[in-house]
């Protein structure tokens, strides 16, 4: 699918970090419409940071990011607001609003951007919760949920405004293998049925092989991309032995 479809995210010559510390340098890659794109790499190599640059939460030192045709890095407020409508984000630990139940969490977002009547909003929220398999947890508080449920609820919330792109930060980290497999299943299902483009940060091999169309691999020492491609190709014939080793670990 990737060959014909268009580029929905473009990252070009991006270098950035915190303070004077460079965390990532010379990053260039594209994400195509409709694919599941994976950013992988060890802990602390800058995956979350990469995500923050892409969604405009942090500003890189140099380079460009465009999402759905909108320049993110130096966007005007109006352009950025427009870009925000095209994507949703699931943060590493969900970031659900702790003082509200799941239904209110989703309705809050709808309230902000639409002027639907309350029961329309609740129906949409309920539909989103059903989509992630949390149909009967609408009135639960985030603190009463397990880690996996919280992450799914966060996905439901990030889908509230029908985004074209979903960014997921470590959706299966800290989950048991079964829940983690369910998460992969959910990603695949949403990708097939709703044609959402996914950018997923992860380091779980099984999940990479299950969901990924393409991936890039970051490395903490060289601070840049060490491999790009389909996981099976990288496993078979990456020119970097360390990358081959990583992909063959489980096999």
């Amino acid at each position: 699918m990737t060959e014909q479809s268009e580029k929905i995210i473009q990252v070009k010559d991006l270098t950035g970090g915190y303070g004077d510390t460079v965390i990532l340098k010379d990053i260039t890659f594209d994400v195509y419409q409709g694919e599941v794109f994976i950013i992988l790499g060890g802990s602390g190599c800058g995956k979350s940071t990469m995500l923050k640059f892409m969604i405009g939460l942090e500003k890189p030192f140099s380079g460009q990011v465009s999402i759905d045709g909108i320049e993110i890095v130096n966007a005007s407020e109006a352009d950025y607001k427009k870009a925000l409508r095209s994507f949703g984000v699931m943060y590493q630990n969900g970031a659900l609003f702790g003082s509200m139940n799941l239904m209110e969490n989703i309705c809050l977002v709808l309230e902000e951007f639409t002027n639907l009547p309350r029961d329309a909003m609740e129906s949409i929220a309920q539909m989103r919760l059903n989509q992630v398999g949390l149909g009967n947890a609408a009135d639960k508080m985030p603190s009463d949920l397990s880690g996996g449920m919280r992450k799914r609820a966060a996905i439901a919330r990030s889908m509230a405004l029908d985004p074209k792109i979903l960014f997921l930060d470590e959706p299966s980290a800290g989950l048991d293998p079964i829940t983690s497999a369910q998460m992969d299943e959910l990603i695949l299902q949403l990708s097939r049925t709703l044609k959402i483009t996914f950018v997923v940060v992860t380091h779980e091999l099984p999940s990479i092989f299950t969901v990924a169309d393409r991936c890039i691999m970051l490395d903490r020492n060289v601070k840049t991309i060490v491999a790009t491609g389909k996981p099976h190709e990288l496993q078979a014939n990456s020119d970097n032995s360390w990358v081959r080793q990583f992909f063959n670990r489980e096999a």
Partner: protein, 372 residues
């Protein structure tokens, strides 16, 4: 078991015979003596003889690696002879690369000077942040007022209930006790002149103008100011603020504006309760001293002046604004890590109290010139 032995073999060369044991328990004295010797003689070739070496642990390996590193930095040669193959492998799998070299200790004068400078800089920086935040907040507050339907009134009422209604008990209790104490203290002094009845004047004046607003503001700073810092700080640590941001919701409009409005609205009302309770406290003492309630309240009414009362209440509007703003600011600037939220809450209370006193001082000067 052999002990360590250091010898100069020939010109510029040093040979160290390693002891049988190099572990955490015994490496310390070797460490200092070896490095002292290395610094003195700066050998061009350093040979470690490991023939007697039997036990090595992490500390021992770190010792050997440190020597190696020292020698490399000094551009001398380094070799270990008669090393057991297993130990050699252990040594090779460990490395000291990336070890932070501690900068030389500064003299205490330089340290003090540097620390003072740094502290001064961070205070200035902090004040800059506060001023720009208060400015931003003022702007957003006004633009929110222009579009009142955009204000989150549901949050406002909940917050006002929490900061106001839930604090009535403690505010009234404290007011009552302060009134009691003030009346008792001043009655003792005034009693010497037979002027107990004028205690009422003193209580009314001091409570209306200073004590009432200040005490209530302090209560609110420690109850709500710290709570706001902790709430918003927790949201920050939980990435909830990031989530708000990527949903296009401005945290200032969304979290700070309702809180500022809530405290600005509730602080004057709480102050009224506080003052009223203080008068009752004072009346209780007066009754014990044999002055009838009728006389006491009559004196109060004679002294009580609306200008004083509203002068005091006007201050509390400003106090309320600052307490909420500073609490939220500290929350928004919460750092990373487990103790960050606690630090923010503490700093919120401290900054609030300083700010309250400063603002109170400014009001005193302004009122003086206005003749209030």
């Amino acid at each position: 078991m052999t002990d360590m032995d250091i010898q100069t073999t020939k010109e510029g060369a040093l040979s160290i015979t390693l002891p049988g044991r190099l572990d955490a328990a015994c490496v310390a004295p070797y460490w200092s003596s070896t490095f002292r010797r290395l610094r003195q003689s700066k050998p061009s070739l350093l040979t470690l003889d490991a023939s007697g070496l039997e036990t090595v642990d992490g500390a021992g390996i770190a010792f050997l690696l440190s020597i190696q590193r020292w020698q490399t930095d000094a551009r001398g040669r380094f070799e270990i002879v008669h090393l057991d193959p297993a130990l050699r492998q252990l040594l090779q799998t460990n490395t000291l690369e990336g070890l932070v070299v501690r900068p030389p200790r500064k003299t205490s004068f330089r340290r003090v000077a540097e620390d003072t400078g740094r502290a001064g800089y961070s205070i200035v920086h902090d004040i800059k942040i506060q001023i720009s935040f208060l400015g931003e907040l003022g702007y957003k507050l006004i633009s929110s007022m222009m579009l009142p339907q955009r204000i989150r009134w549901k949050d406002f009422f909940l917050l006002a209930e929490k900061a106001g209604a839930d604090a009535i008990n403690i505010t009234a209790l404290l007011g009552f006790l302060i009134g009691l104490i003030l009346a008792f203290q001043s009655a003792v002094a005034m009693g010497q002149f037979g002027a107990e009845v004028y205690v009422a004047d003193l209580i009314v004046l001091s409570m209306f103008k200073e004590m009432g607003p200040l005490i209530t503001a302090f209560i609110l700073a420690s109850r709500s100011g710290s709570a706001y810092a902790a709430e918003i700080g927790t949201m920050k640590v939980n990435e909830e603020l990031d989530a708000l941001h990527t949903f296009g919701m401005d945290p200032v409009r969304f979290l700070v504006v309702p809180r500022v409005l809530a405290l600005t609205a509730t602080l004057p009302l709480l102050t009224l309760f506080n003052i009223l309770a203080a008068l009752f406290g004072a009346q209780a003492v007066m009754s014990l001293l044999g002055i009838s309630p009728v006389v006491f309240w009559d004196r109060c009414r004679a002294t009580a002046d609306l200008v004083d009362l509203f002068g005091g209440l006007a201050k509390t509007l400003v106090f309320g604004y600052f307490i909420a703003a500073i609490g939220c600011l500290r929350g928004l600037y919460t750092g990373k890590g487990a103790s960050a939220v606690g630090d923010s809450a503490t700093r919120a209370v401290v900054t609030c109290i300083v700010m309250i006193v400063v603002v109170d001082g400014i009001f005193a000067v302004v009122y003086y010139y206005l003749g209030i």
